[in-house]
Symmetry: C2
Subunit: 239 residues, 2 copies
DNA sequence: GACGTTTTCGCCTGTTGGTCGAAAACAGGG
DNA sequence: CCCTGTTTTCGACCAACAGGCGAAAACGTC
């Protein structure tokens, strides 16, 4: 059963927390099919690039988002009728943008809350929801939060990011303790000025170097003797 | 940059624990390129199927493995030169076979330990190692073990499966307690006869119904009040 | 200086996973 | 028939961890 002309495209669900909501970058199609509907950025895979290079190129071309801090493969979408007329297989990606940047985007491009999408083209709504689910799963058992956060931040700001991305309340106490025990958070020593109503100045934190590598560190059934393998971080004894 | 004739194939890394070692199913290529080298089963994506259907079809055609209990997407391999001569994008899958079956395979097909592969074709060795890593990661934070185990088994037999798959020692005590606390393991009430050297008869266990769905249940930073959400399992009070 | 606000820190609790050792249940040999 | 060796099972203990709560700290405003 030989396939005749199976095209391949790459698509990116770029997520960012904006205005306390998880949002996705979409552009409005101007041509048929699905003209007027909103689609994920992407395009056809080139001859001299792999899918990862391709999605980075397409993002840099079609929309101006060089601030994407994390890109990972979501999966392949290949239902025969997913795009009418032609056979087109898509490799979908999840992209993350820190909350403190506001990339310049073309006129036909806009951000939409993941929970309230406009009419979408093809199977792109399904891809967006897969991206959201992947993000939520990985936020809890990896250090992926760094890709959504600015370089420096307060605990309460980070908490709001997690709340928006996860969709459920998060305790600031636990968040700080969990992340510091994993040695992925470090205080910079500086403090942020309090808000208009006063209050104690918040300590400013930063993700540590080793946190920038996404590590699946919360594995259960570890090899014996690997407890608290903090890696390069020295555990200082209490004086 | 339009692509000219990007072909698409699916490949399956089918893993099984045999003779206390994690092994993978490979077949020996008879034609160039890479004639004589060992390759993953798979083939070209058909016009009327998606990649998941395709990999199941190819497995049923090329090798007789209908006993595959779990199939999941690994990722896309798309380096421009991964197959010499043509542009071929591959969607790789991870397949798992329980340890108690021995599928009939064609003459050119054989099992090899993942840790000691023969000369492999193209980038297939990389795919096999990705499959092994995925399995190891998921074994610890999901209930994926059921896909490697027979329908009924003793704890020590299950322990040997985990040791072979994970590559490091596993405590039988912990394994039983961890899995029973997750309500994925249940005793059948029967016992297996002891070995030639005697010993206490081992209790026979079975995976529960809800364990057959792979659930990412070990998430940290859970929503509040979701502790011990055992789902459909009733927690009986101690009398 | 009193009050409200926000952040931070310490304490307590329940759960989990790792380790160890004793007890249970069997086969075989003296 | 008891004793020993073997294998499994179970309970106890410990360390680590996440969740929850409330007090204390550090600010602004009135």
């Amino acid at each position: 059963m030989p396939a005749r002309s199976t095209g391949h495209e790459v698509l990116a669900a770029v997520l960012q927390v904006r205005e306390d909501a998880l949002q996705v970058l979409l552009w409005q199609r101007g041509k048929e099919p699905d003209s007027g509907r909103w689609a994920l950025p992407g395009g056809v895979l080139g001859d001299t690039e792999d899918v990862e290079e391709s999605v980075r190129r397409q993002l840099a071309e079609k929309v101006d988002v060089r601030e994407v801090t994390h890109v990972e493969q979501l999966g392949v979408f290949s239902a025969p009728g997913r795009v009418p007329g032609i056979r087109l297989v898509a490799t979908a990606f999840l992209g993350l943008v820190p909350s403190d940047v506001d990339p310049a985007v073309p006129a036909d491009t806009a951000w939409f809350p993941v929970a309230d999408l406009p009419p979408t083209a093809f199977d792109h709504a399904e891809i967006v929801h897969d991206a959201r689910d992947r993000l939520r799963a990985k936020l809890s058992y990896t250090n992926l939060g760094f890709a959504l956060a600015p370089r420096e931040f307060t605990i309460s700001a980070l908490r709001e990011l997690y709340v928006a991305a996860l969709g459920h309340p998060v305790s600031a106490t636990n968040l700080q303790r969990v992340l510091t025990r994993r040695h992925v958070l470090a205080a910079t020593g500086e403090t942020a000025p309090p808000g208009p109503a006063g209050g104690r100045p918040a300590a400013v934190f930063r993700f540590t170097e080793r946190a920038l590598r996404v590590t699946d560190a919360s594995a259960v059934l570890r090899p014996p003797g690997s407890r608290d393998s903090a890696g390069d971080v020295a555990v200082r004894p209490v004086p």
